[in-house]
């Protein structure tokens, strides 16, 4: 069966003044992929994601989502940021509802989606809490539920678990895989953590140091649930580590 291209990036180039950050990047993302993007620290991973979503204007090239120029206002794209991006004045339930309100969905659909995703991320009993009353991992789960509730065509995640401890990270990684399997949303997951990339992705894209280009994309067909101590896992992790080395 032929794979459907969800995102097509042609010659993506981004400069800040004279500083070339993204250098002529071209790649495709297949529909339903959980593509993990790894690269050396400071290589411009966040710039790459912000360029994809037009938070930054790109210098050259084009980005197509479903064959059309990417436009977050017209297309259904969700973004989960590195830090907390919940709205502190809204309860957990209202936060998850936020994107659905913006998109003007019918009330019954909104209620259904909010209940469904609160249940999946295990926050139903905290639905009336405010973000200031929640822990860091719960806040990320609110952001994740809010993003998935809009049933995005493309979900972008920028090191969402970077600030969490290892136990919470594993828990949320499993939750993400569960949601991804359930919804088959196309996910671009940026991380500097190689183990996380190998644990999560069905594909891993390795970026070079600045000016950033795509070094290689690896298909990761390790069976799930993945065991980080399994020899195949360690082998793949080492392979990615070797590819990422710039020194």
């Amino acid at each position: 069966m032929e794979e459907k291209i969800k995102v097509k990036v042609n010659h993506l180039t981004k400069k800040f003044g004279d500083l070339l950050v993204l250098d002529d990047m071209s790649f495709n993302v297949t529909d339903g992929d959980l593509l993990c993007v790894v690269g050396p620290t400071g290589c411009g991973k966040t710039t790459f994601l912000n360029s994809l979503t037009k938070i930054y204007d790109i210098t050259e090239g084009e980005i197509l989502l479903n064959g059309q120029q990417v436009n977050p206002k017209k297309q259904n794209i969700a973004y989960i940021f590195q830090g907390d991006s919940t709205m502190p004045w809204l309860t957990v339930e209202e936060n998850v509802r936020f994107g659905l309100d913006i998109k003007g969905l019918p009330e019954t659909k909104k209620k259904e989606q909010v209940e469904k995703y609160l249940e999946i991320v295990g926050l139903t009993k905290y639905k009336n809490y405010y973000p200031k009353q929640l822990s860091a991992s719960m806040l990320q789960r609110v952001s994740i539920a809010r993003a998935f509730a809009t049933e995005p065509e493309l979900l972008l995640m920028d090191e969402p678990y970077g600030q969490l401890d290892i136990e919470l990270r594993f828990k949320l990684e499993d939750e993400l895989v569960k949601l991804w399997k359930l919804t088959r949303t196309t996910v671009l997951f940026i991380t500097h953590n190689i183990e996380e990339a190998v644990y999560l992705g069905n594909k891993i894209m390795i970026l070079t140091n600045k000016p950033t280009t795509v070094k290689k994309t690896i298909v990761n067909d390790l069976p799930r649930p993945r065991d980080i101590a399994a020899p195949e896992f360690v082998k793949l992790r080492n392979q990615v580590t070797e590819l990422i080395k710039w020194w």
Partner: protein, 263 residues
Amino acid sequence: MIKKKNISDKTINVACACISIGAFLFLWYWGTAFTKLGMLIPGPVEVLETVTAGFFGKVGRHSILVHVGYSMIRVMIGFIVGSVFGIVLGLLMGWYRIAEAIFNPLFRIIRPIPPIAWIPISIIWFGLGENAKIFLIFLASFSNTTLNSMAGAKNVDREVVNAAKMLGANERQIFTTIVLPASVPSIFAGLQVAISSSWATVLAAEMVRSSEGLGWMIVAGMNNNDMLQILSGIVMIGVVGFILAIIMRKAEDILCRWNKSGN
């Protein structure tokens, strides 16, 4: 556990407030009863008796409560109109660069001018009636709310704005669903200062020309060398100011309950 601690903190605060007010009243009483201070000002018991008598009798043409009512109506009209204008202008200046570029230079010039400096102009423009007083109170609340609303809008978390953008929010939706609610704590800080400022300004305005209100009570007391009337007016200002501060704090607690940590 957290709830228990809050109750205990509240009890301590109330106890401390009672002790400090009690100590002040005691010193006042002691000073006026047993030292030469008694020749300059009356004691707290006499002032309390005068205030109580003023509730049921008349000070000038009205009871004290009516005087409070006159001052309060002037404050509320000026405060509400000034705050609405201040909040709108502050949010626009804090969020839209073009609005800041146009209005901020003018605002920076007007802001340092104390409202009472406008008294002569307000009398020339509006005469000696209510409008001049309300105009002065408008200025007093406008500056404070504008400044704080602008700060609130400027400090909106960019990550939250980007999250809203990515969820499809347009400029208007970002302003109404992100900038406005995120600025509420700053707006309230401005309103707190604005209400005190408005209250101080109404007294100054009433002292210039009026026949009712707490400012008039004080000035009339001064003209008649009636120290009890002056102190009754001052005590009522303190009491009304205290009540207004509590009302504002309660409103803030309700509207900004999300800004409190803990369960």
